[in-house]
Structures are given as C-alpha cells and as structure tokens.
C-alpha cells in the first residue's frame, strides 16, 4: 500500500480493494517500526486515526457524497494547531501546548474525510533548513540516514519519502516545503501567498508563511490543493478569489510552453550534479514541446539579506506572545515579571530562534528601522518586480530547488552557510508567487529537486507542468530502501 501515491490509494479505497482502517493501520504500523530511525513524527495519534478511519469507511459504505480523499491518512507539520492534540512547533516552549481549536487547513482536511496520523517534526518555529533545530531532535533523511531531510518541514518530507504516510502538510516561509521535498525526493508545492488560510498555523513570518501539500506526485498535490485552497474569513490576508479544480488541467499539453531559466540560478555555488539534473529535466520539457530561454532576475542576490531582515523582524514580534504568562513553558519560581519573561524565554527557545529574535529586535529598533526594515521592503518590491517582468516573457521559470543535494547532519555549523541553502527558494516567498519542487534525479544516492515557479495564482499551471514531467519520468516513484523494510 505504502508504495502507492495518494491518487492511487484514493482509487483503491473507492473500489473497495482495502478499507481506510486497513490502510491507516498499515501506515501506523510502518511508523511504529520505522520512525525510530527517522524521528519524523513528534506525536502519533494512532487511536484517533483508527477511529476516524472507521468513520470514513462507514461514510463510504453509506454511499452518498463522500469526497475522493475520504479515508486517506495524512500527517500535519506540528505547526498546525489541532484541537486536543499537542502542537509544539518543534519547541520546548510549546511542549505542553494543546490548542483549543483547529487550524483552518486542519478543519478543511478533516471535513474532506482525511485521517490525521499525527504531527510531524520540524525546525523550531519553522526556523531552519535542515531540521536540526528541533527540540525533539533531528530528523534523518530516508535516502541516507547520515543526511538531513531539509527543513523546516523535514518531518513531513521524510515521512512521505519513507512511505510512513501518503502525504503531509508543510509550511514554507523561505523554502521550507520545497527544499525538504527536494532533499527527500518528493513533490512539494508552496502556493501563492494568500491562497491557503494561515489561521491556526503558528506564525513565523506572517507576510511570508504559506501552507502547502507535500506528496509523492503533482497529482496528489492537486487533490490536496482542491481541499485546502480558498478564502478564509478568519485570515484577512487570504485572498477572496475562486479556486479552480486543480486536477482538471493536469493533462493539458505543454506544447508552446515558454520556460525561462534565470541565469542567476545557475551561477557559483550550484553543485554540478544538481545543475546537470535540472538541465536534463529542461531538455525533457523541450521534448514535450516547450521552448526555453534564459531570463534574468537581477535582484536575486539581495533576496537572502532582505529575507533575513524581514522574517526575523516579523518573528521577533510574532514570538513575543510566548512569555510564560498564559500558555507554554514557564520557568520555575519566577521572582518578578521580568524574571518570568527572561527565564521562560531563555529556557523555552532554542539557539536559532533566539538568534532571529535578536536580529529582528535589532532591525526594528529606533535608528535602525529605516536602514534595515524599510530598505528590505524596497528590495522586496524590486524582487517581486523581477518576477513579474520575467513572467511577461515566459510562462514558468525553472531551476534548482537547492544548490546541493541533502548535506550531512552537522555539516553546516555556521548560520550563514545554512542560510545560503535557501538562495533559490527565498525570493519566491518575498514575491509571494507559487513554486513547486519535483524529483529530478539523484546524486550519490540523494535526491535532487527541480523547482518550477509561476506567477501569482498559477498553481494549476505549475501542477500541470509538474504532472506532465512526472508522466514522462519516474523519479518521483522511486522509494528509498527504508520504505521497503518492515513492509
């Protein structure tokens, strides 16, 4: 069962090949046996999942209008608030936090009949590119246990790649869906900012955060997007705009598709084997009828500096609510309010989170605000304009999702070299456009991701372009050895 895509599983459930309860039990068993090696889950909600599966089977047996995802098991990054189930955000700060409500994404998935197997590991508060910043320990890459799975949605990526769950929800603030998808050899879509509600998703950088699906194929992602996309009155930044059926256009032919290759995405720092895999993929597109040209995104090299002003600035404010007063970690025996704040936060937050709070607090300070924050916002507008200009010429942009395949655990010691991981993904968040990472080969047994970018609200086109590639290739169907252990 676990070697099937979500789309295939949905068909099997519909035909009655197996029940949701059988499917759910199978995945729970796989998690039980395998996840000790991967550490991809923080919380597994087995009992609850089996109950939901039985309910889904009943609903199917009862006939009527059950959605095609009814009975499909999923996992949620531990950043999505879930009623009655701990939501830790990968932090000691929230190790005791149980939200009294569900995130909108969780509500929608539940209403669609899907089953939640649990909450996946992540970099603390989504700050990281290797999943090494988790209070609950690092996640291992299923393709090579010495390698990181990427981050911050590393748990979701690893769980899907290892066949512990057919699909999972992630969030992407600077590449946190696409980079781990690339590292783990799965398909991950970051939708347009505002396409999916952020309500109930613990905020890292509010103007950049976006939830999206992580699955085996673009088709799987299309099914999930059909469920989670749309306006939410509880999120003012979600966009009131019609949601297409993302599966409908998956098979549109690509003849005449204009692909742009940003020259800045093929420069120094790009591993040759990654470049080769990406250029091979582009050739495949040419054979499918696409035309290719080089384009320029001239402000690309400002993206990381701008991001590391804007994201920490927002984070420093967003994370102020973790003060030990109403929820979350509280230090023992505080002597006064200031002591309560200082020790609760010093004890509750990890090093990277503290670093970004400090950076953000500094850049927003009187006397520095204009030099940092205001200037970074100007850069952000220029970066966005770069993309809009490029999309005047071409339909989609293609390039690597990350400069190298997954690196070894512990390999990146200094923060800046870690930040450079996100060089191809971060600008996309600053511009608010959608991007998808699809498996496009291997180097040294570790997967490589092709990133495809489209203009605002072009998710259907990205899924179509990715799906056509996946019809012509089988990179996305390959499974790591660990997926077959205990099978």
């Amino acid at each position: 069962m676990h070697d099937k895509t979500l789309t295939q599983l949905a068909a099997s459930l519909k035909s009655g090949e197996f029940s949701s309860r059988e499917l759910t039990a199978h995945y729970l068993q796989k998690i039980e046996k395998t996840d000790g090696k991967l550490n991809s889950f923080i919380t597994v909600t087995g009992e609850q999942a089996l109950d939901q599966a039985e309910a889904a089977d009943k609903a199917r047996a009862g006939g009527g209008d059950t959605g095609i995802l009814t009975g499909i098991p999923l996992a949620l990054k531990d950043i999505f608030c879930t009623r009655d189930v701990k939501t830790s955000c990968g932090s000691k700060m929230l190790d005791n936090f149980i939200a009294p409500y569900n995130a909108t994404v969780v509500e929608k998935l539940s209403a669609a009949g899907t089953i939640s197997l649990g909450k996946t590991n992540m970099d603390e508060f989504a700050m990281g590119s290797s999943n090494e910043n988790s209070h609950f320990g690092p996640v291992k890459n299923p393709w090579d246990l010495k390698a990181v799975p990427g981050g911050s949605s590393g748990g979701s990526a690893a769980a899907v790649a290892a066949g512990l769950v057919p699909a999972a929800m992630g969030t992407d603030t600077g590449g946190s869906i696409r980079q781990p998808a690339a590292f783990c050899g799965i398909t991950g879509l970051k939708p347009t900012y505002g396409r999916v509600s952020r309500y109930g998703m613990i905020a890292y950088a509010s103007s950049l955060d976006q939830a999206g699906p992580m699955a085996r194929s673009a088709e799987d992602c299309a099914h999930l997007m059909n469920v989670i996309a749309g306006h939410d009155v509880r999120d003012s930044t979600s966009v009131a705009r019609g949601v297409p059926d993302y599966t409908e256009t998956l098979n549109a032919p690509l003849s005449g598709l204009k692909i742009g290759l940003p020259k800045e995405y093929f420069g120094d720092g790009l591993a040759p084997e990654v470049e080769k895999a990406v250029r091979d993929a582009v050739k495949m597109y040419e054979s499918l009828g696409a035309t290719v040209r080089e384009v320029s995104l001239p402000h690309t090299h400002y993206a990381i500096p701008a991001y590391y002003v804007i994201a920490p600035a927002e984070a420093s404010s967003n994370l102020s609510r973790f003060d030990g007063v109403r929820f979350g970690h509280r230090c023992k025996e505080p002597i006064d309010l200031m002591d309560l704040y200082k020790r609760s936060r010093a004890e509750g937050f990890g090093e990277e989170v503290k670093r970004r709070i400090l950076i953000g607090t500094h850049t927003l300070s009187e006397g520095f605000f204009d030099a940092y924050y205001t200037k970074a916002q100007k850069v952000r507008r220029l970066i966005r304009q770069d993309f809009l200009d490029a999309f005047e010429e071409v339909d989609v942009l293609m390039g690597p999702a990350a400069p190298t395949p997954a690196f070894d655990l512990g390999a990146k010691k200094d923060p800046v070299s870690m930040y450079l991981q996100d060089i191809y993904t971060i600008a996309v968040n600053l511009a608010g456009i959608p991007g998808i990472s699809v498996p496009a080969g291997f180097a040294g047994g570790r997967p490589i991701g092709l990133q495809i970018l489209g203009t605002h609200f072009a998710e259907a086109q990205l899924l179509n372009v990715a799906h056509q590639y996946q019809q012509a290739t089988d990179w996305h169907l390959q499974l790591p050895a660990i997926a077959e252990e205990n099978a």
Binding site: C81, Y101, G200, S320, R326
Partner: protein, 484 residues
C-alpha cells in the same frame, strides 16, 4: 515673570462596538474576569486578527464630525512591548498612517466666547487587558476582558492655554462622541481616558517648554486638578533655577499631585512596524459620502438651532446641547408640551435639581421626558397651577402614578376655576378675617395691593392649592374694594 501654559490632549475613546476590534468576543463592561476573551484576545498561537468594520465606520464618523481629512489608505502597526496584560506582546495601533487626519473642534468658554482647537490626527487601536494588583496576596491578577476593545485615540495640537480650556475641549470631544453614538463616554468605567501633555513658557516666547505627559486621567475634574498642580510644579521648578525634564507622570487624585513614572531615557523603544496580519484599510468616496449622509445633528449645530429656532438664550442653548442625552430629553419634553421656554426652564430647574440631589444622570431619570412634557401641558392649558405642578412632579418622581393626569385626578389637584366656588371660599375667608378686613380698609390705597396677599394665601389654603391664583386675586380685590 508671566508664564503661559501650553496643553495638548490625547483622548482615548472606547468605541461602542458590540464585539472587539479584531475578534468576535463581546465588549460588554463588568463581566466576570476573563469570560470575554476568546482565543484571538488571549493571543493564542496561530490566531489572527480580523478588523471590525464597525470600528472603522465609527472612527470615520468622528473624523467627519471634526472636519478631518479621512485617510484613503490607513495602516495598522504593531507597537511592541512586554507587559502581563498585553497578550500578544504588542498592541495593534496606527502609527504611521492613521485613519483620521487633521481636523478641528470648537470649544465654548465660560464667557460664551469660542475657540478652535486643532486635532492632529485620530487613530484606531486595541485596548490592553487589566492588571489587578489587589486581592492576590502580593501577586497580580490579569483580566483580559478589555483586551482588544476598540479605542479611538484623538490627539490634539498643543492649542490649549489653561486647564479650563482643556476641560472645555474634553467636554466637546465627549459631546461629539456621545452625539455620534460611537462611545458611551462613561469616564468612570474608563470609556474615555486622557493623557495630558503640559508645558509652560514665559509669556511672549514662541518656543515650547519641555513637556510632561500625565497619563490616564479619567475625569473632567481630575484633568483640571492635574493640570493645575503640574503647571505650578513646573513654574516653581524653573523659578528655583531647575529645568523640567521630559517624562511621564501619574496623577494621584487622593494627594492631588502628579508623580514621575518614567523619564525619556527609560522610555520603551516600541519598534513599530506594519502589522503583516492586517491589510491596509482602503476607503472610497462613496463610503465616506454614505457615512456623511448619516451623521446626526452635532452639538454645535444643535446649540445654534436651539437659539435661532426655539428662541432660547445662549446660555440655555449651551447647557441643553452639552450632552446628547440632555438634548434629547429636552427636545422630547418640548415636542410633547409645545413650549420651548417652559421645557427649558423645567429641565434645567426642577429636573436637574432633583437629579443632582440624588446623583442621577438624565438617562436614569425616574421621570421620563414624555411624563414631564405631559405635566407641562397641564400647566399650560390651566388644568393645574404652578404650585400643583411641583406636587405632581414630586409624585411622578416617587413613582406614585403613571402620568400627570392620573396624579392630578387622584390627588384632586385640578385647578378650581368655577367662579361660584371661588366666590364662596372668598366670602368665607372675608367673614372669618374681620381684623384683616379692617386693616385693609384703613390702609393707604397704595399699601392695599400688598395686603391682599394674606387673603389670597387663605383662599389658596382653603382650596388646598387648587384655586386659580389669578382668578382668586381678581375676585378678592373686587370684593374687598366693595367693602370700602
């Protein structure tokens, strides 16, 4: 040296929306602690604010009422600081692009002259919760019911030159917001609070002196007293060779003084930046026109109309238009009885006196405007005389009847105008007062007018106040003069 006081006010007005500015929780006052705070108000992780449209409409109405430029685009910013009753660690406010731009308010001073006070801007923000320092044995209790209540902060220019002007300005703001119905204006419950910026400078000097900001003053009287104390403190300080430091001070009404809270050096760096969870508020002309068309008559217009249309004096018009409740009460009384002067006299006289004695506001008056109007109608159609009217008023006040007619009936206060009955009473009084009749007869003719008062009194007494005094007067005079 002659000193001049310079005052600017920041008035926080709690807007009378049913729910909070960014959540659906109720804003009702006085509930059990923390029963009116939802996940958003508690700042639970993952929650997001959604702007209350009503709060925006109310801010715009205020802006229109003070002739402000309304911002086409306004933006919410986060004001970051840590405090136990500030759940998110920031207050959502409007720092850089407030919704209401420059405007002005006209104030009326004691000598009936007016002065224009400029408004710098007004912005929307959320209130914090409350820290309760009593009853927790050395600890602090937090009540977040108030967290997220919408506030309009109205910032004046430093245009006021005395405590009296500051109070007049505050009253004018109070009248405007209550007329608009955008706030209950209840200062005791904190619906209106103000920060007072005070400085002094030698008369004639153009540059402002260094100011002190007195935080959270919550009554008209305290504003006056806080300013009086602060002005004296600053002048003394300077005259003794010291300098005023820029600082935040607290007014202590028990000791009648202001105390330093923190100096400029200790001030927070609030690290304002645009709130990424909220979209800019964009307002178009059609929306403004719609709200403009719904503006009620405002205090200044009402005062003007009371004088020009109803013929009230400037003083009466000013008193009766000072608050929306007072004006509405008066207008209802007038509407029922049809006589503006009579209505004005009774509302400001008998009614206000009784309300003051029992420390009631006009909204809690035991006598409704309709009841008072009906009572005055009975005076005007001569059913009762003025003296009986006061009895009826008292009876209505005490709830001894539904309306004036009922009380007049049960108490038998109907004015006696039957000439025969009056003549009979007069004849009896004359017969029982031979000595007074003799005095009257012997008096100089020009003294007799005064002496007739005794007989009138006796007749009124005999009629238990119901006889028509004019009628009694006329008949008595004729009868007594016939005895000469």
């Amino acid at each position: 040296m002659q000193w001049e006081t310079v005052i600017g006010l920041e008035v926080h007005v709690q807007l009378a929306t049913r729910s909070k500015i960014f959540s659906g929780a109720s804003t009702a006052f006085g509930a059990e602690p923390n029963t009116q705070a939802c996940a958003v108000d508690l700042g639970l992780p993952g929650t997001l604010p959604v702007l209350n449209e009503q709060a925006v409409a109310m801010a715009v109405q205020f802006g229109l009422a003070v002739h402000s430029d309304i911002a086409e685009v306004s933006v919410f910013d986060r004001k970051n600081y840590f405090y136990a009753d500030l759940p998110k660690g920031y207050q959502t406010s409007q720092m850089y692009h407030p919704i209401v731009g420059p405007g002005e308010v006209e104030i009326t001073l004691d000598d009936d002259t007016t002065k224009r006070i400029r408004i710098h801007h007004a912005h929307l923000e959320e209130d914090a919760g409350k820290s309760l320092h009593e009853d927790f044995l050395g600890m602090t209790g937090i009540d977040l019911n108030r967290a997220g209540t919408p506030l309009l902060e109205i910032v004046s220019e430093p245009d006021m030159r005395s405590a009296k002007e500051a109070v007049a300005y505050l009253k004018a703001i109070h009248a405007i917001v209550t007329y608009l119905g955008i706030s209950d204006g209840n200062m005791a419950e904190g619906s209106m609070r103000c920060d007072v910026n005070v400085s002094v400078r030698p008369k004639g000097q153009e540059a402002f002196g260094t100011r002190a900001e007195i935080k959270n003053v919550n009554s008209f009287r305290f504003v006056e007293r806080a300013i009086a104390f602060e002005v004296e403190r600053q002048i003394e300080l300077i005259e003794d060779g010291g300098t005023v430091v820029q600082e935040t001070r607290l007014f202590d009404p028990e000791r009648d003084e202001t105390r330093s809270m923190r100096t400029k050096e200790e001030a927070n760096d609030y690290r304002y930046f645009p709130c990424p969870d909220l979209l800019p508020v964009v307002l178009d002309e059609a929306y403004l026109d719609h709200l403009r068309s719904q503006l009620p008559e405002l205090p200044a217009d009402k005062r003007e109309r009371f004088q020009s249309e109803l013929g009230l004096s400037a003083y009466d018009a000013s008193v009766l238009s000072a608050s929306r409740e007072m004006a509405e009460f008066f207008e209802e009384v007038h509407h029922v009885c049809g006589d503006a002067k009579q209505a004005a006299n009774w509302v400001q006289g008998e009614l206000s006196g009784a309300l003051n004695r029992e420390n009631l506001s006009i909204t809690n008056s035991p006598i409704s405007a309709r009841q008072l109007g009906e009572l005055l109608s009975r005076v005007m159609d001569d059913t009762i005389n003025g003296k009986a009217a006061k009895q009826v008023f008292q009876a209505l006040w005490n709830g001894q009847g539904e309306n004036a007619d009922e009380i007049i009936e049960t108490k038998g206060l109907k004015q006696v105008t039957d000439t025969g009955a009056i003549e009979a009473m007069i004849d009896q009084v004359i017969a029982e007062s031979p000595a007074q009749v003799a005095q009257y007869r012997d008096a100089e003719p020009d003294k007799r007018g005064k002496m007739i008062g005794y007989f009138v009194g006796q007749v009124m007494k005999a009629s238990r106040g119901t006889a028509n005094p004019q009628q009694v007067n006329g008949v008595l005079k004729a009868k007594l003069d016939a005895l000469l």
